[in-house]
Amino acid sequence: MTPDNPTSEKHYLRLRHNVQHRLSLVPILGWLLGALLAVILEQLAGDYLVDALDMDKMPSLLGILAIAKDIKYFLWQGWDQLVIIGKMFAGGAFSGVVSVPDPFQTPRVLLYVFLVYFLPIALFGTLTIRPANWMADKLSKLPSAVSVIGYLILLYLVMHIWADMSAYRGMALRFTLIAVMLTLSLNVINGYMGEFSCSHPGFMALGAYGASVVTVVLFANDKLFGAALLPKFLAPAFFPLALVVGGAVASFGALLIAVPSFRTRGDYLAIISLAFLFIVKSLIENLEIVGGPRGLKGQPDLASLPVVFTWAVLCIWTINNFVRSTLGKALNAVRDDEVAANAMTVNTRRTKMTAFLFGAFWAGVAGGLFAHVLRYVNPATFGLQKLAEVLAMVYFGGLNSVYGSIVGAVSISLLSEALRPFELFKWVIIPLLLILVMIYRPTGLIAFREFDVRSVLKPKQNPESEV
C-alpha cells in the first residue's frame, strides 16, 4: 500500500497515525468489554453465520485449525501437482488438473473471524474510548483488590462464554491455563534463579498423583482404593486441599533435589534434576498401588473452567508478587553474582531453596489440575517430551518475565493445536521456530519485563482531555 503521489501518501500516513493513536487510547477495559460483546454475538448469531457462510462447523480456535488444514492440503496437493507436472514434462502428456480442495475453508473462516471477533472488538474499543477510560479511571480509584477482581470476573465471563460453544474450546482453554502455570513456575527456577532444572515434569507427576490419590480415595469408587470415603457433594470443597497436597508432594520432591544440589553452583542441578525426573517416572511405574505403568484413572470431574481459572490467577498473582518482593530481588541477585549477593547479606542458600520449592509447588498444583482435566494420569506423560515442551514455552516466551511466560505458554499451546493437522511435522516446526528465536533473541521474546497489574489496567487517557 504505497500510493504514488505524495499527497495521498500523506493522507495514508495521517490515517495510519490516527488509527494507531486511537488504538493506543483504548484501555484494557474497552478491549475486554469488546471481547465480551464479540463472544455474546457469537453465542447468539454464530450458528446463523456458519450456515450463511456455508461452513462445515464453527471455527474452534479462531479458525487456526481450519486454516492449517487448508495450508496442509495445499502443500500436499502442491506436491502432487509438481509430480504431475514433472510427469507431464517427462511423458509429454498432461493428465492432471490443478484443483481447489472441496472443503476449502480459509476465506470463510477469515471472514467469520473478522465479522465475529475483529470487527466488534475493534469498533467497540475505538468507539467507546471516552466512557471506557472514564470507567477505567473510576475503577482505578477503587481499592485495587476490588477493581482487579472486577476485571477478572469480566475476563472470566469472556472465556466462559467463548468456551461454552464447544467442548474442545473448554479443553484447550483449560490446558492452556495449566501450561501458563507450569511455564511460570519453571520460569521462577530457570529464569529468575538462573539455574537449569530438568525435573519439572517430575514435579508435575508428583502433584498429579498426589492430588489424584486424595480425590480418588475420598470420592471415587475405585478398584485400587476401594469405595468412596466421603459423599460426592463434598468433593469441590476438598479439591483445593487435594491440589495443595499435590503441590506439597512436589515440593517435598524438590527438597530432595535441593539439599544436595545447592551446595555447588552451575550445571549440577541440571544433572541431579534430570536423574530425579527419571527416578520419579520409574518409581511411579513400579508402584502398583497407583496403577503402575497403566496409569491411574477415575478422578472425579472437579477441574472445571472456573476452578482452573481461579488457580491460574492465584498462581500468576503469587508468583508475580514473589518475584517482585525482596525475596525475588534477592533471587535475581543470586543469579547474577552469588558471591556479591552473599556479601550483601542475602542468605543465598535459603533464597534458592525457597524459590525452588515454590516453583515445584506450583508445578505440582498444575499437575494436579492436569490430572483432573484429563481424568487420567499415566507416568509416560511426564517424560522428556513434556520437558521439551515446557522448556520450549519458557524460552520462547522469555526468561525472567511473567509476561513472557504467559505469552510463551499461550503461543506454544495455540501453535501446537494449530499444527495438529501436520502430524509429525509439528515437532519439526516448533523446534525450528524455537531455534530461530534462540539465535535472534537468546533470552526469549519478552524477557526481563516486570508485570505490573496497575499499569496494565490504568486508563489510557485522562478523562477530562479531548479525544
Binding site: S282, Y395, V428, I435, I439, T443
Partner: protein, 313 residues
C-alpha cells in the same frame, strides 16, 4: 526370586556389561569433549548417535545387499570397515552441521539458550527420521557371521569381543590424539581457557568443529556396534541411550575423557547387574538412584576437577 551369586560372577554377564559399557562410553566421550571445550551440554548428541546408527545401517544394508546379489564380492570385515569409515565421515558432517547451525550463533548467548537449541535439534533429528523412515523398527544386517567360542563353559561371540576390543582401541586412540597431537594440545588448551587461547592464534571455530566431528564419529561407531549387537534400530534410541550416556559423561567428571569411559562402563555394569538382583522393572530406578548417590557425594564426578566459577550465564 533367587539371588544367585554364581550369576553375578558369571563371565557372560561381565562381557555383556563391557559391551553395553562401550556403547555408553563412546557416546559419553562426545558429551564430555564438547563440554570441556565449549562448556555446553550438547543435548543433540544422543540423536547424533541415532543418526550414526541409521547411516551405518544404510551403508551396511547397501554393501551386504550388493554382496548377496553378487555384484560385489567383499568379505565381512571389509564391509564392516567400510561401514565404520563411511558412517564416521557422514555422521561427523552431521555433527559439524549441528555445531554450525545450533551452537556457533549462540556462543556468546546464555548457556541455557544453547542447551535449548541442542535439545530442539535433537527433536528435529528424531522427528525427521520418523518422517523419512517411519516408526518401523529396522533390523541391522548381519555383517560378520556370528561365531560362538566356548571357553570354560562360557559362551562368547566374536562380535562381542570385537565390539569391546575396537571400542577400547578407539578410546585409546582418542586419548593419544588428545595427549600427543598438536590439535589435541589445542583442544586441551581451549578447554583450559577458551577466552585467551583464541588470542594465541588458535581458531575456536576450527577446534569446536573438530570436537563435534570427533564426538559424532565416535557416536557413529557406537551406533553401528549397537546395531550389530542388538540388531534393532528405532528413532527413539537416541533419547533412551543418549541420556544415559549423558549421565555417564557427568558422572565421569565433566570434560574428563578417562572419566567418561570409566563411567560409561560403570553404567553398563549397573544396567546388566541390577536386573540380576532386583526385578528388571526397577532397573532405571536403581541405576539412577545409584548415580544420584554418587553425585551427592562426589559432585564433580570421578575424575572431574572441582567446579570453578567459570560461568557464562
Amino acid at each position: 526370586m533367587t539371588l544367585n551369586l554364581q550369576n553375578l560372577l558369571d563371565f557372560q554377564n561381565i562381557i555383556d556389561a563391557l559391551q553395553w559399557g562401550s556403547f555408553y562410553a563412546l557416546i559419553a566421550l562426545g558429551y564430555s569433549m564438547v563440554y570441556s571445550i565449549l562448556m555446553l551440554f550438547n543435548f543433540a548428541h544422543g540423536d547424533i548417535f541415532m543418526v550414526g546408527a541409521y547411516i551405518g545401517f544404510g551403508i551396511a544394508s547397501l554393501l551386504v545387499g550388493l554382496t548377496v546379489a553378487g555384484s560385489l564380492a567383499l568379505p565381512g570385515w571389509v564391509i564392516l570397515i567400510l561401514t565404520l569409515l563411511g558412517a564416521m565421515c557422514l555422521t561427523s558432517i552431521v555433527g559439524m552441521a549441528v555445531e554450525r547451525i545450533g551452537y556457533r550463533p549462540l556462543r556468546d548467548a546464555p548457556r541455557a539458550s544453547a542447551a535449548i537449541t541442542g535439545l530442539m535439534i535433537g527433536i528435529i533429528l528424531e522427528q525427521g527420521n520418523l518422517i523419512l523412515l517411519g516408526a518401523k523398527r529396522r533390523s541391522f544386517p548381519e555383517i560378520i557371521e556370528s561365531q560362538t567360542f566356548s571357553i570354560g563353559g562360557v559362551d562368547i561371540t566374536n562380535i562381542k569381543i570385537m565390539i569391546v576390543g575396537v571400542s577400547l582401541a578407539f578410546m585409546l586412540a582418542l586419548h593419544l590424539f588428545i595427549k600427543k597431537n598438536k590439535w589435541g594440545m589445542a583442544m586441551r588448551a581451549m578447554a583450559f581457557d577458551y577466552l585467551v587461547v583464541p588470542l594465541m592464534g588458535v581458531s575456536i571455530n576450527a577446534i569446536a568443529r573438530m570436537t563435534f566431528a570427533i564426538g559424532s564419529a565416535l557416536a557413529a561407531v557406537a551406533g553401528i556396534f549397537f546395531g550389530m549387537a542388538y540388531p534393532v534400530l528405532e528413532p527413539t534410541m537416541g533419547i533412551v541411550y543418549g541420556w544415559k550416556a549423558f549421565v555417564a559423561a557427568i558422572l565421569g567428571g565433566r570434560g574428563s575423557i578417562m572419566g567418561a569411559c570409566f563411567a560409561g562402563f560403570l553404567i553398563g555394569f549397573i544396567e546388566i547387574f541390577v536386573p540380576l538382583v532386583f526385578p528388571s522393572t526397577l532397573r532405571d530406578l536403581i541405576a539412577y538412584s545409584i548415580i544420584l548417590l554418587i553425585l551427592v557425594y562426589r559432585p564433580h564426578g570421578f575424575f572431574g576437577e572441582p567446579y570453578s566459577a567459570k560461568l557464562r550465564l
